[in-house]
C-alpha cells in the first residue's frame, strides 16, 4: 500500500493534468534538442574521422622534380621515420560544364587503383580502374559537370589542348571537401590518360605517411629529412604540404557549428527547467495552505519537499520518455544530412550510451536542481504563515517603494492601473516569468542576430571584392600580350594584373612547407601583386595602412595570413619562401579579407623582383560593364577564348557568382540549424507565458469574483488580465533585446573565429526584434485571454468558493 502523501502526489498530478502536460512538454523540448544535437555530434565526429582516416590521408605531400619513379619510391620508403610512400600527381585542369563555361577540375592521377594505399577513395559505380581516355568523377561532383556517367566531357590541362574524356564511373572520396561547396570538379585518371591529356605521364607528388602522426611538428622532422635527402639526390623539392594531421578539411567548422548548437540546446533545456520551476512554484503557491496543514499534523519540511521533488522527478522522467526517442531519430537524421553535405558516409549511426545517460540526467536532474530552491523556500513557511495565506501573504501590494511609486501614477486608465499593480504583486512569479521570457527572447534574437551578422559578413566579403572575374594562367605571359588579347572582348570595363605565386613561411632549411590539403585550396598561402591604386578590392584595414607606391619591401597581410605569423605587428620584418628562395618583407598593414585563404599582398615591382617575371602576368581581375550572372559567364567565356587563341592557357577562372555559391554552401547548414533552434526556444518561451498567465488567473479567480460582485463587468476582468499579460510580455521584450547583445557578441566571436578566423560583427537584426515583438504581443494576448475568459465566465458564487 502506498502512503497517503504519495496518493496526494498522484491525485494532484491528475488534477492539474494540463499544467503537468505543459511542463512535460517543455522539458521534453529541451531534452529533445539536447539529445538531437548530442546524438548528431557523437555520430558525426566519430564518422567524419572514420571516413577521413579510412582514406589513410597522407601526412605530407612533396612536389618533386623530375617525376617519382619506382626506384625512388623504394628508397624513400625505407628511410627512418617513414612508414609508407606512394607516387601520384595532382593536376589543376579545367572542364567545360556548359558551352564555353569552364570550371576548375582537380585531376588526381593514380598509378594503380587497386593497390593505392594513401589518400584512398572508394569505387561507387561504373568502371574501376578507368581505361585510358576515361575518367572517374567524385560522386558529389557529377552534378557540377551537368552530364551523366557514360558521356564525354571536355577537359583542358595546363600543358595540353582541349580533349574529350569519357566519364566511366563514380567514386566516393571522403578525404575532400564536397565538390559543390568548393565549386571544383574532382576527377580520377591513370597516368596513361594523363599522358594523353597533358603530354607526360610523370608523377610529381610523393605522398608520405610518417610513423608518428601526432602533430605537425612530429611530421615535419622526418619529412624535412626526406626532403633534404631528395635534394642531395639531385631532385628539386618544390613544395611540401603537411595538412593538419588526422583532420578532415571541414572538421573544425563542423565541430564549431555543433558546439554552438549544443550551447543553444542546453539553453533550451535550462529554459524549460526554469519553466518547470515556475510552474511548480505556482502549484506550491496554490497549495501553501495544504502544506501548512500537513506540517500542523506532523509533517517535516523535508517530507513535504520530498513530495514535490518527486513530482518534478516524475515530470522529468516523463519528459525524457517523450523527448529521448525522437531525439535519437532526429539526431541520426541530422547526422545524415550533415554527412551528405560534407560528403561522407555514415558507416554506423550508433549513439554511445553516455548520450542516453546525459539526456536522462538533463531531463530529470536539471529541473530537479532548479526546482530545489522554490520548493525548499515554500516548504519552510511556518504553519501560521501557511494557514493565514490567502494567496497574497508576503508580497502584498503596498509594501515596497515601487508600489507606492506605481500608486502615484495619475491619469492612467483604472483597468490598466490595476493590471500594473497586479503585475508587481507576485514579485517572485513575475521575476521567473520575466526571466523565462527574456531568456527565450534573448536566445531567439541572438540566433537571428548571429545569422544576420553571418550574412552581413558574407555580404561584406562580396562587397570587398569589386571585380567580376578572376583568371589565373598556367604560366606567366607578357603583360602587353595578355592585355591586347582581351582588349577586343566586349563588356569589359577594366583589367588589372593580380599575379600569384604559392608562398610559405620561411624555414632555415630552405624547405617550402605549407599547411595545404591535397585539394590545394584549404590552408594555402599565396603571394600576390596588386596595383596600389586598385579599386577592385576594398578591404577593411585592421592595422597600419594599405599598400602605396614606393612601399618597395612593404607587404599587406590579410587576417588569415597574419595567423601564420603569431604576434606580427605593423613595422615587423617577415620572411617568406618562394620557390625555395627567401623573401624579406616589411609589414605595412593588416587587412580583413573574409572567405579568402591566407594571402600576402605586395607591389608589382616587388613581385616581379622576387619571381623574376618582369612585365609578366599570370593572374588578372576583370570588372565588367554589367554584373549579372549571364553577362559574367558570357564575358568570361569570351575572355578565355581570346586568351587561348593567343596561346595562353587558363588555369582557373573564378567568377564572382561561383564564389558566392561556394561560400553559401559553407553556411547553409548553420543558418537552417540556427533557425530551428530559435523556434524550439520560442516554443518553450510560449509555454512559459501560457502557464504563468494561467497560474496567475487561477490564483486570482476569487479576486475576479469580488471585482464582479462590486460591479465590474466580465470584459473589464478580461481586459485586466490581458493588459497584465501584454505588460509582462513587453517588459521581457525590452530585457530580451538588451540581453541578446552580449549573447550575440560572444556567439558571433566563437563561430566567426572558427569559420572566418574573424569575429562576426555585432548586429541587432531589426526584423528579428520586430518578429519577437509580434510573437510576444500576440502570444501574451493568447496566453492570458484563454484562462481569463474561462475565469470571467464563472458565476460570482463559483469564483468566491474558489481556493
Amino acid at each position: 500500500m502506498i502512503g497517503p502523501r504519495w496518493k496526494k502526489l498522484l491525485r494532484d498530478l491528475q488534477a492539474a493534468q494540463g499544467r503537468m502536460l505543459m511542463m512535460v512538454l517543455a522539458i521534453a523540448v529541451g531534452v529533445f534538442s539536447v539529445g538531437t544535437i548530442l546524438s548528431a555530434y557523437t555520430i558525426l565526429t566519430r564518422e567524419i574521422s572514420n571516413n577521413y582516416l579510412g582514406t589513410n590521408p597522407a601526412s605530407a605531400l612533396l612536389e618533386v622534380e623530375p617525376g617519382v619513379d619506382d626506384a625512388l619510391l623504394a628508397e624513400a620508403g625505407g628511410r627512418s621515420g617513414i612508414e609508407a610512400v606512394e607516387a601520384s600527381s595532382t593536376v589543376v585542369a579545367r572542364v567545360e560544364v556548359s558551352p564555353n563555361q569552364w570550371m576548375p577540375l582537380l585531376l588526381f592521377v593514380i598509378k594503380d587503383f587497386d593497390t593505392m594505399h594513401i589518400n584512398k577513395f572508394n569505387p561507387e559505380s561504373g568502371e574501376w580502374p578507368p581505361a585510358e581516355g576515361h575518367i572517374l568523377i567524385e560522386r558529389e561532383a557529377l552534378s557540377l559537370t551537368n552530364t551523366e556517367v557514360g558521356n564525354a566531357i571536355n577537359v583542358e590541362t595546363p600543358n595540353g589542348s582541349k580533349q574529350e574524356v569519357v566519364i566511366s564511373g563514380l567514386v566516393h572520396d571522403p578525404g575532400l571537401a564536397p565538390a559543390w561547396q568548393e565549386q571544383t570538379v574532382y576527377g580520377y585518371i591513370t597516368p596513361a590518360t594523363l599522358a594523353m591529356l597533358d603530354g607526360s605521364s610523370d608523377l610529381h607528388i610523393l605522398k608520405v605517411i610518417v610513423e608518428d602522426q601526432s602533430s605537425v611538428q612530429a611530421i615535419e622532422a622526418p619529412v624535412s629529412e626526406l626532403a633534404a635527402w631528395l635534394k642531395s639526390q639531385g631532385y628539386a623539392v618544390h613544395e611540401v604540404r603537411i595538412p593538419p594531421p588526422q583532420k578532415h578539411p571541414h572538421q573544425t567548422q563542423m565541430v564549431a557549428i555543433l558546439t554552438m548548437m549544443l550551447i543553444f540546446s542546453l539553453m533550451a533545456l535550462v529554459l524549460s527547467a526554469i519553466l518547470t520551476a515556475t510552474m511548480i512554484g505556482g502549484l506550491l503557491a496554490q497549495q501553501v495552505r495544504q502544506i501548512g496543514v500537513m506540517k500542523a499534523v506532523g509533517a517535516r519540511s523535508r517530507q513535504i519537499a520530498g513530495i514535490y521533488l518527486a513530482l518534478v522527478a516524475l515530470i522529468g522522467s516523463a519528459a525524457v520518455v517523450l523527448g529521448l526517442p525522437p531525439s535519437l531519430a532526429a539526431g541520426r537524421g541530422l547526422a545524415g544530412l550533415v554527412a551528405q553535405l560534407l560528403n561522407f558516409t555514415l558507416y554506423s549511426t550508433d549513439i554511445p550510451g553516455w548520450v542516453y545517460l546525459v539526456q536522462f540526467l538533463a531531463g530529470v536532474l536539471v529541473p530537479f536542481l532548479i526546482a530545489l530552491g522554490p520548493i525548499f523556500k515554500t516548504t519552510r513557511v511556518t504553519v501560521r504563515e501557511a494557514i493565514n495565506d490567502f494567496g497574497t501573504s508576503k508580497e502584498t501590494f503596498g509594501s515596497r517603494r515601487l508600489d507606492s511609486w506605481l500608486g502615484k501614477i495619475q491619469g492612467l486608465d483604472s483597468t490598466l492601473m490595476l493590471a500594473l499593480r497586479n503585475t508587481f504583486r507576485r514579485r517572485g512569479r513575475l521575476l521567473l516569468t520575466l526571466s523565462l521570457l527574456s531568456v527565450a527572447g534573448g536566445i531567439f534574437l541572438a540566433a537571428l542576430n548571429v545569422k544576420t551578422a553571418w550574412e552581413q559578413n558574407l555580404a561584406d566579403a562580396a562587397a570587398d571584392r569589386r571585380y567580376d572575374l578572376e583568371i589565373r594562367l598556367n604560366s606567366p605571359a607578357p603583360k602587353e600580350k595578355v592585355l591586347s588579347a582581351i582588349g577586343d572582348v566586349p563588356g569589359i570595363q577594366q583589367v588589372e594584373a593580380w599575379n600569384y605565386e604559392p608562398a610559405a613561411k620561411y624555414r632555415p632549411d630552405g624547405l617550402d612547407i605549407v599547411r595545404t590539403y591535397p585539394d590545394g585550396g584549404h590552408g594555402s598561402f599565396t603571394l600576390r601583386s596588386l596595383p596600389p591604386e586598385t579599386e577592385m578590392v576594398r578591404l577593411t584595414i585592421l592595422e597600419g595602412r594599405w599598400l602605396q607606391s614606393g612601399d618597395t619591401d612593404g607587404v599587406v597581410l590579410n587576417h588569415m595570413a597574419r595567423a601564420l605569423f603569431p604576434n606580427v605587428k605593423v613595422g615587423d620584418q617577415i620572411q617568406l619562401m618562394l620557390d625555395g628562395k627567401e623573401v624579406d618583407l616589411q609589414v605595412v598593414g593588416i587587412a580583413r579579407e573574409l572567405v579568402t585563404p591566407a594571402t600576402a599582398y605586395v607591389l608589382p615591382e616587388k613581385f616581379a623582383e622576387v619571381t623574376g617575371t618582369i612585365e609578366q602576368v599570370n593572374g588578372i581581375r576583370i570588372v565588367m560593364n554589367k554584373h549579372d550572372a549571364v553577362t559574367r559567364s558570357n564575358v568570361a567565356g569570351e575572355v578565355e577564348r581570346a586568351l587561348e587563341a593567343n596561346g595562353m592557357n587558363v588555369k582557373v577562372s573564378i567568377l564572382e557568382t561561383m564564389l558566392d555559391a561556394a561560400v553559401s554552401g559553407h553556411v547553409y547548414i548553420l543558418i537552417v540549424m540556427l533557425i530551428v533552434m530559435s523556434v524550439l526556444i520560442a516554443i518553450v518561451g510560449a509555454l512559459g507565458l501560457v502557464s504563468s498567465m494561467g497560474t496567475s488567473v487561477i490564483e486570482r479567480t476569487r479576486e475576479f469574483g469580488i471585482m464582479r460582485s462590486i460591479g465590474a463587468r466580465s470584459n473589464t476582468v478580461l481586459w485586466n488580465v490581458i493588459s497584465e499579460g501584454i505588460f509582462i510580455g513587453l517588459m521581457s521584450w525590452v530585457i530580451a533585446v538588451a540581453m541578446s547583445l552580449p549573447l550575440s557578441l560572444s556567439i558571433g566571436r566563437l563561430i566567426g573565429n572558427l569559420a572566418f578566423r574573424f569575429p562576426l560583427p555585432l548586429i541587432l537584426s531589426p526584423s528579428a526584434v520586430v518578429i519577437w515583438l509580434a510573437i510576444i504581443v500576440i502570444g501574451s494576448i493568447a496566453a492570458s485571454a484563454y484562462p481569463a475568459r474561462n475565469a470571467s465566465r464563472l458565476t460570482i458564487r463559483e469564483t468566491l468558493v474558489y481556493v
Binding site: 500500500m1 502512503g3 497517503p4 496518493k7 496526494k8 499534523v297 509533517a299 519540511s301 517530507q303 494557514i387
Partner: protein, 241 residues
C-alpha cells in the same frame, strides 16, 4: 526535580505535579506592525492539567488564537516559557516542532482543513505516515476505528468535498487523534457549523476528555460552558479570569 538532562528538549522546568500537561509562564507575543510593536499576549501565566477540558474565550482580537498557536508551537512566544507535554516548546526548531506536534498535540482548525485530494481515511492516515508511528499495515485499520469513534466510518473512502461540514470536522478530529496525542487543541472548531452539529461535535470532544484526552478549545459560544471543566477568559492579551 530533574530526573534527567540528557534530552535538551526536556531540560529546565518540569511540572510540579506530574499531571500538569501545559504550563505557560510570563508568555508574551509581540507582532511587528507599521507603528512599531503590538503586544498580542501580555504576560500570560496558565496551567492545564491532564484530563481538563479548557475553554479559551474572549472578544475578537483579544489574543485567543495567538495563545493557542503558542501552545501548539504554530507561533513562537516572544518571551516567557511554554511547556507542553513535558517539552519546552519554545526551544524547538521548526523540524523538531513538526515531529513533536505530530505525536503530542492534535490540532483541529475552524475550516477543517482536510486535504481535498485525499479520502477521509487517507487524511487520517496522513499523520501516521509523516510521523511513521504505526506499522504500515495497521494504519488503515486504525484510521477506520478512529472514524468509528467520531461516528463517520461509513464516509471513510469519500473525498472531503462530499461530506457535510459536521462530518468534515469529525474527520478532522479523527485526524488529530491519529497519533494518539495526549492533548487536542482546537481554534473555534464549531465556528463554521450550525447549532445542532456544533452540539454533536462538542459531545464528541467531551467523550474524548472522558477517555483521558486533554482539550484546549477557543470558542465564541457561551452555551457550551457545561462541557468545559474550566474557562479562561482573555481580554487585551491578558488572562482576566
Amino acid at each position: 526535580m530533574f530526573t534527567q538532562v540528557a534530552n535538551p528538549i526536556k531540560e529546565a522546568i518540569l511540572p510540579a505535579s506530574s499531571s500538569r500537561l501545559i504550563e505557560l509562564r510570563g508568555v508574551t507575543k509581540a507582532y511587528e506592525v507599521a507603528s512599531g510593536q503590538f503586544l498580542a499576549l501580555k504576560g500570560i501565566d496558565m496551567q492545564v492539567d491532564a484530563g481538563e477540558f479548557v475553554a479559551v474565550v474572549g472578544k475578537s482580537g483579544s489574543g485567543k488564537s495567538t495563545l493557542i498557536n503558542v501552545i501548539t508551537g504554530i507561533d513562537d512566544a516572544s518571551s516567557g516559557e511554554v511547556l507542553v507535554a513535558s517539552t519546552v516548546v519554545s526551544k524547538l526548531d521548526q523540524e523538531q516542532l513538526s515531529i513533536w506536534r505530530g505525536k503530542s498535540v492534535g490540532v483541529v482548525f475552524q475550516f477543517f482543513q482536510l486535504l481535498p485530494t485525499l479520502t477521509v481515511a487517507e487524511n487520517v492516515i496522513l499523520p501516521m505516515d509523516f510521523c511513521n508511528t504505526y506499522p504500515v499495515r495497521e494504519r488503515r485499520e486504525r484510521a477506520i476505528s478512529l472514524l468509528e469513534k467520531v461516528g463517520i466510518a461509513e464516509q471513510a473512502d469519500k473525498l472531503p468535498a462530499h461530506l457535510s461540514g459536521g462530518q468534515q470536522q469529525r474527520a478532522a478530529i479523527a485526524r488529530a487523534l491519529a497519533n494518539d496525542p495526549p492533548i487536542l487543541v482546537a481554534d473555534e472548531p464549531t465556528g463554521n457549523l450550525d447549532t445542532q452539529t456544533s452540539e454533536d461535535v462538542m459531545r464528541l470532544f467531551s467523550k474524548l476528555v472522558e477517555e483521558g484526552k486533554t482539550v484546549v478549545m477557543v470558542t465564541h459560544e457561551r452555551d457550551f460552558s457545561r462541557y468545559f471543566t474550566r474557562t479562561i477568559m482573555l481580554a487585551d492579551g491578558q488572562v482576566v479570569s
